[in-house]
Structures are given as C-alpha cells and as structure tokens.
C-alpha cells in the first residue's frame, strides 16, 4: 500500500472560486493543487451534498477522460469524496482571461495569441468529438503555457457526457457569451476559436447550425419578421 503524506499539512490558500477553495499543496512528493468543495451555508444541506458529490465525481471522470483522449488537462492524483477534495497536478500557467486583459490594456491586436486561440478551438473540437461537454467554458477556465502557446482546460465541475449537438452548441454559446461580456472589444477571438473548431471537429455543420438556434434563445431577443 502506498503511504501518503497528510495533505492537510502546509496548505496555502491559492484561490477562492464560486464553489471551491483552491490550495497549493503536495502529494507523493509532487506539488499539487487541492480543490476543496466547501459547505455553502446558503444551500439546503441535502441539495448541497447532492451537488457537491455529483460535481466532484463528474469532474474527476471528465479529467481522466480528457487525459485519455489527448485534451490537455491537469492530471488527477487523488480523490477524497468524504472531504470533497480533489488532488490535481499543479499547472503554473496564467489564465487566458488575464492574457486577453493585458492585450486589451496595451491595445494590442490579438495576433500575439493566434496560435493559442487556434489550439483552444482544436481542443474543444477534440473534447466534443469524444462527447465530453465542459459545461462552463470561460476564459477563466483555460490556462495558457506562455512558452509553447499550449492551452489547458480546468474546472470540469459542470461537465457531462453527451453526444447531442444541442449540448455541444450550448457549450460553445457559454464561451461566446463569456468572451463578449467580459472582453467586448475582443469578441473577434470567439470567431477565431470557432473557425479552428470547425476545421478540426468531425460534426461541425450540425453543431454550428444548432449554435445559431441556441443564440436566438435568450429572452427578449429582438425578432425581425
């Protein structure tokens, strides 16, 4: 049996997301990230347990599945459902969101990250071709290795497995909205991601047609005709 260091030792709070606290720690003598889904006081305990269990299990499964098919994600080192802790590979890369913001601040063109954007589109296509739906595709859930330009996907808490073009289109729509609402001047980036997605995905036409449908769905949309 493998003996394990007590992971609760020397944990350093790294980030607080919407539903989990992220600590830097180590396991098996390797640096790691601990993602702990903490108790949300506002939620009914039954509902909270249902959501936390489901999301943690789904996150671990999707990460493993992504790794198998070649989508860049952190490795899963260990899972502990009792304490709702997920031990993941530490990836020391900045967020795509911060990269875009710094380009915006310097009023630079998106040319600097062309390769990365293409890679993002390619990897989403790979995910979708293998029926992994991320569920929360935003620029805060994509890391970028500055040196290589490679992108990494994190936070699969809302992920699911589905072959429906509907679910894939909604996944893309969530990303589109995230980009256009937080980087209104850089909305071209989504078009670029989609171009790359179309190039690599095997079921492009169906998904993109569905995307057009999904876009019309928000309430109070202007309807012409």
């Amino acid at each position: 049996m493998i003996s394990m260091e007590c992971p609760s030792m020397n944990q350093e709070l790294f980030k607080q997301g919407a539903e989990a606290r992220i600590y830097k720690s180590s396991i098996f003598n390797k640096p790691c990230i601990v993602k702990e889904r903490f108790l949300k006081c506002y939620r009914h305990p039954t509902l909270h347990k249902k959501l936390s269990d489901k999301r943690m299990i789904q996150e671990a499964r999707s990460l493993v599945r992504c790794h198998t098919i070649g989508v860049r994600t952190p490795l899963v080192y260990h899972t502990d459902l009792d304490t709702h802790k997920l031990y993941l590979e530490l990836l020391p890369h900045p967020l795509l969101n911060d990269l875009i913001s710094s380009l915006e601040a310097r009023e630079q063109q998106s040319a600097d990250i062309t390769d990365t954007i293409r890679d993002v589109g390619r990897q989403i296509a790979l995910m979708h071709d293998n029926d992994v739906i991320h569920g929360d595709l935003t620029t805060l859930n994509i890391l970028v290795d500055i040196k290589s330009g490679d992108s990494y996907f994190i936070d699969f808490g809302l992920s699911s497995v589905s072959s429906l073009s509907e679910d894939k289109a909604v996944d893309l729509y969530v990303l589109e909205r995230a980009i256009t609402s937080s980087h209104p001047k850089m909305s071209q980036l989504f078009t670029d991601i989609l171009t790359s997605y179309a190039q690599y995905s095997s079921k492009t036409a169906k998904t993109l047609n569905k995307l057009k449908e999904v876009r019309q769905r928000g309430r109070k949309r202007i309807m012409i005709g």
Partner: protein
C-alpha cells in the same frame, strides 16, 4: 432643478412616480389582482390600467405637489413587457407630453430597475441580479453597456413561482410570490427537485413541470404539505440564482451584489445572497417592495438621467416593444 414624471405598466402593476433630481416626490402604484388559480391576461390587464390611470395620475400630482408646468420631461416604459398594457400606458404619456408641451423619454424597464436600485442603495458598480415575473438576468456594467452574463433560457423565476402558486391555489393578493414566501416559513421537509445551471445560465421550466406533476400526489398522500413544497421550491431555485450570481462575481471580480425586480424583495433570497456575500467578503445591496416591485419612480429617475444626457423620444418613435434587451441601451450617464 429638473422634475420628471414616470409611467410604468409593463405587467400587472400600474405605477406613476414623480422625481426631482433623485428625490422621490411621489411613487404610487395600483395592482391588478386576479382570483387564485388565475394569471393576468394582457387584455384584461390593459383594461385595468386604462380604467385606473387618470385617477392615479391626479393623486400622484397632488401627493407630489407639482404643477405640470414645472415638469421637465414625461417618461414611460418602452419595453420589455406585455404589449397591451404597455401600449395603454404609453398612450397617456404621449397625450400628456403634447398637452403639456414637454419632451417624451422612452425608458427600458430593466435598466430602470438597475438604476433605481443603484440610486436607493448607493451601490456604485455592483453585479446585478434582476429577478421578476418576466425577467431573470445576471448583469454587470462595462464599457457603457449593462452586459448580460447569465439569464434564464426559458421562463423567468417569478413565472415559475406564479405558476406553482396557481397549481396549489394560493392567493394572488398581494402577490403569489409573497404568499409562497410566507407559507415556506412553515415548511421543513425538503423535496428534491431538478437543479438546472448551465454555466451562468439557468432554466426553470423543467422544475415547474416536475413539481406540477408531483405536487398534487405528494399533498394527497400527506407526505409533503403545501408549505414543504413552497419551501423546497424556494430553496432550489434561489440556490440556482445565488450560484450564478457568485459565478458572475468570480468572473468580474466585483465585491457588491444588487438584487432588483419583484422577486428581489423575497427575504429568503436576500438571506441566501447575504450568506454568499459574507463568505466572499462582499456586500449585499437590496431594496424593499417600494422599489423592487415595478414602480413609476424608477422610470422617472432613469428617464431624467437620460434626459440630462440629451436623450428624448420623438412622437413618431414613441412606440412600445415587448422585446427590448438590457444590453441594447447605451448608458450615457455612467463612465
């Protein structure tokens, strides 16, 4: 010194408000209430507004102590909302504008809720949760637009509550949501319901049809009481709303939450949001029923802000629209 009068009638509330540079001089309201088990239909809501508006106008001017000649602009709700009620109120605003020789300002109803909420609570740059019978949106400001981060992809949260109130035959007086809130306080058995969050978007129609299908059976068998069902519904849908708001906050880095719209005066929703804010070291800004529920003062206040930036609506453009996105309006009065 500028005075504005605002007319609101996009749903079942008819409201007239008079504002002098941010100071509310009057804010009267008159609600069309239907019997238990019934919703409000556009045609009859419009008839209600038409029959009440002149009396409400006279009382508003009297309460405010304002002479029509002192008014700078006449503001009305251009949309979104129900067609017939919107039009019945716009007719009055248009007529008064010509009668008094004052410019007309068409106001977006959602923007008015946000601006009134900011004005009353003093929130500077909040993440906004706008929840009512017809709208459910998570909104944040950037670059002269209120941008929609998340919204419902089917029905509004208030619509979900209203429909459920009809199923269990709760009174619509003063509002179905208020009666669900009161009854939920006596409930404690939690019935698991579908929970539907997609990124920052939410969906309620699945919950509505699920609870409709199990409600009657659960009550007849005595396993769950009416109160338990109200409790379970509130706990589930409010948890969804708080979750998407928190997601938007994580996205924008904002430390303030403002809740507006009719469902926003629900104290359980406010409590849950406050707990979420406390966990993050953020601040909750909420208002009471005077400003949460549709009212005329919010239209007057926002119309006056627009008027001061030089926006007026020509007579030929003074139509109404059922569909009017929050992110369509240029916010000229903010940096």
């Amino acid at each position: 010194m500028s005075i504005a009068i605002g007319f609101e009638g996009s749903a079942n509330k008819l409201g007239i408000g008079i504002i002098r540079d941010g100071v509310i001089l009057s804010n009267l309201r008159c609600t069309y209430i239907t019997p238990p088990g019934h919703g409000f239909q556009p045609k009859f809501t419009a008839i209600h507004h038409r029959s009440e508006i002149i009396d409400l106008l006279q009382r508003s001017l009297k309460t405010a102590g304002v002479d029509p000649k002192d008014i700078s602009c006449v503001c009305y709700t251009k949309g979104p909302g129900m067609g017939a009620p919107l039009v019945s109120v716009a007719v009055v605003a248009r007529t008064l504008s010509q009668l008094w020789g004052k410019p007309l300002v068409g106001v977006n109803h959602c923007i008015a809720h946000i601006e009134m909420g900011r004005h009353v609570t003093g929130a500077s740059d909040p993440t906004v949760l706008y929840v009512s019978g017809g709208n459910t949106q998570v909104i944040a400001y950037s670059n002269r637009k209120y941008r929609i981060f998340g919204e419902t992809i089917d029905i509004a949260v208030g619509n979900c509550l209203d429909r459920f109130a009809r199923v269990i035959k709760l009174s619509n007086d003063p509002s179905p949501g208020y009666n669900i809130e009161q009854l939920a306080k006596q409930g404690n058995r939690y019935l698991e319901l579908p929970y539907s969050v997609k990124g920052m978007d939410v969906a309620f129609s699945g919950i509505t049809s699920h609870i409709e299908s199990v409600a009657v059976k659960a009550m007849e068998s005595g396993e769950y009481t009416k109160a338990d069902l109200c409790f379970s519904l509130q706990e589930t849908i409010f948890a969804m709303l708080v979750e998407v708001t928190e997601r938007a906050m994580a996205h924008t880095g904002s430390q303030e939450v403002l809740i507006v719209g009719g469902v926003g005066c629900n104290e359980r929703l406010q409590d849950m949001m406050r707990q979420m804010c406390n966990e993050r070291g953020a601040k909750l800004c909420a208002t009471d029923e005077r400003y949460c529920i549709d009212n005329g003062a919010m239209i007057a206040h926002t119309g006056l802000e627009m008027f001061k930036c030089g926006v007026t609506t020509e007579l030929k453009d003074s139509w109404c629209t059922q569909r009017y996105r929050t992110d369509e309006v240029d916010i000229l009065w903010r940096d």
